[in-house]
Amino acid sequence: MDRIPILRMGEFLLVTIQVDMHDQLALQLQDDLTRAIDKNGAKGVLIDISALGMVDSFIGRMIADISGMARILDAKTVLVGMQPAVAITLVELGLSLPGVATALNVERGMGLLRQALAESGDDDNFIKR
């Protein structure tokens, strides 16, 4: 069965969805990603959906769920590269994804994650001292 690869980039995880999602794949990703966050102690997750041309309510909810799970595991989620058609569909479905950070492309998404990490990084320094 095919899986969506999860790449590690320092303290962040990068998930690039290159195929149209079906339900089983989405559930598998949810499972894989939570494990990967736990294993790597990731501080941020970046999900690139620029190649995703179609969403339904299930996939929309799954994206919101993943972000919620990541937050509990102390990782910030940024969703990048959403296509206009996908954005319109999600809004029409009533899924405005509150609490999910978004960015236009991977570069800006990474910037957001770094910024978030720098802001929360003060705590670590405090412990070291």
Binding site: A87, L97, T102, L104, N105, G109
Partner: protein
């Protein structure tokens, strides 16, 4: 005598007479349309129509104007009504073209069937039915052509009224003008989102100075657009909120919290520049 024969023979033997009376009738009723259609053109059209009518009636019978054989007549009328739409005629002026043929035809039939009142009544009924059908078809085509024109104008208006302008690097503005309905908002939303993808703009300003009224539906459309923009990873500012509209929005109980609003486009631009880390120094 068959019903087919009488009308056809009337059309053939008294053609000149019918045409002359018909033209006189047309002249009389369409005095207002002078200038849009010359008497010569009208005469030509009438002459042509009589030719087609006579030949069709002869070959295909006069029972059903909706039948296959009457295609040529219908097409002629379709062309005619289309031309008249473009020339700016009204629907009754167009329909009169057919209905004014009744009198000359009835006169001619009366002379052909002068010996039998029963035959005449029967013929009149057939002719009336036929001309009514043709007349209705003309009006139908007239309406359809007109709706086509209106539809085309609407699309043009839609395209004209949704320009997305780039104000600065990474800052887009959409000056909205006119009433917002679902169809328009959809197009506005799509073109704005598409432009955001193309230009990778971080901030989109929707200026509603030109929107006359805001009701719950319009507010809902605005909120949807703002949410879609946020989902794509850009920020949205709504500018040009007039005092009257601010009052309406609050009275309607629309929740615009979480949406940045500014009184005018200048303020919105200033905020966008600040967010992008651009500042101006006055020398």
């Amino acid at each position: 005598m068959t019903s087919k024969g009488t009308l056809v023979s009337a059309l053939q033997t008294r053609r000149q007479e019918i045409l002359a009376t018909w033209l006189a009738q047309l002249e009389h009723v369409s005095a207002s349309s002078k200038g849009r259609l010359s008497a010569k053109d009208l005469g030509k059209q009438a002459d042509e129509f009589l030719n087609i009518l006579a030949s069709t009636a002869q070959t295909h019978g006069t029972d059903d104007a909706g039948a296959e054989g009457w295609q040529a007549v219908r097409e002629f009328l379709e062309d005619l009504s289309r031309q008249r739409v473009l020339a700016g005629f009204s629907s009754d002026e167009t329909a009169t073209f057919i209905f004014s043929l009744k009198r000359p035809l009835f006169d001619a039939l009366g002379q052909v069937c002068s010996d039998s009142a029963d035959d005449l009544a029967k013929e009149l009924w057939i002719t009336t039915e036929l001309l009514d059908k043709l007349g209705l078809h003309t009006v139908k085509t007239f309406q359809a052509s007109r709706e086509e024109v209106i539809g085309r104008q609407q699309t043009e208006l839609l395209e004209l009224s949704t320009p997305v302008v780039k104000l600065w690097d990474g800052i887009l503005a959409l000056p909205m003008i006119g009433t917002l309905d679902s169809a328009r908002t959809q197009i506005v939303m799509e073109s704005l989102l598409q432009k955001i993808v193309e230009t990778e703009a971080q901030i989109a300003i929707i200026d509603i100075t030109g929107v006359p009224t805001v009701d719950t539906l319009v507010a809902q459309h605005l909120l949807k657009t703002v949410t879609a923009i946020r989902l794509m990873g850009a920020d949205c500012i709504i500018s040009g909120v007039r005092p009257q509209i601010a009052q309406t929005i609050v009275h309607l109980g629309v929740d615009l919290q979480g949406v940045t609003t500014k009184a005018n486009l200048a303020d919105a631009l200033a905020l966008s520049l600040k967010r992008n880390g651009i500042s101006f120094v006055k020398h």
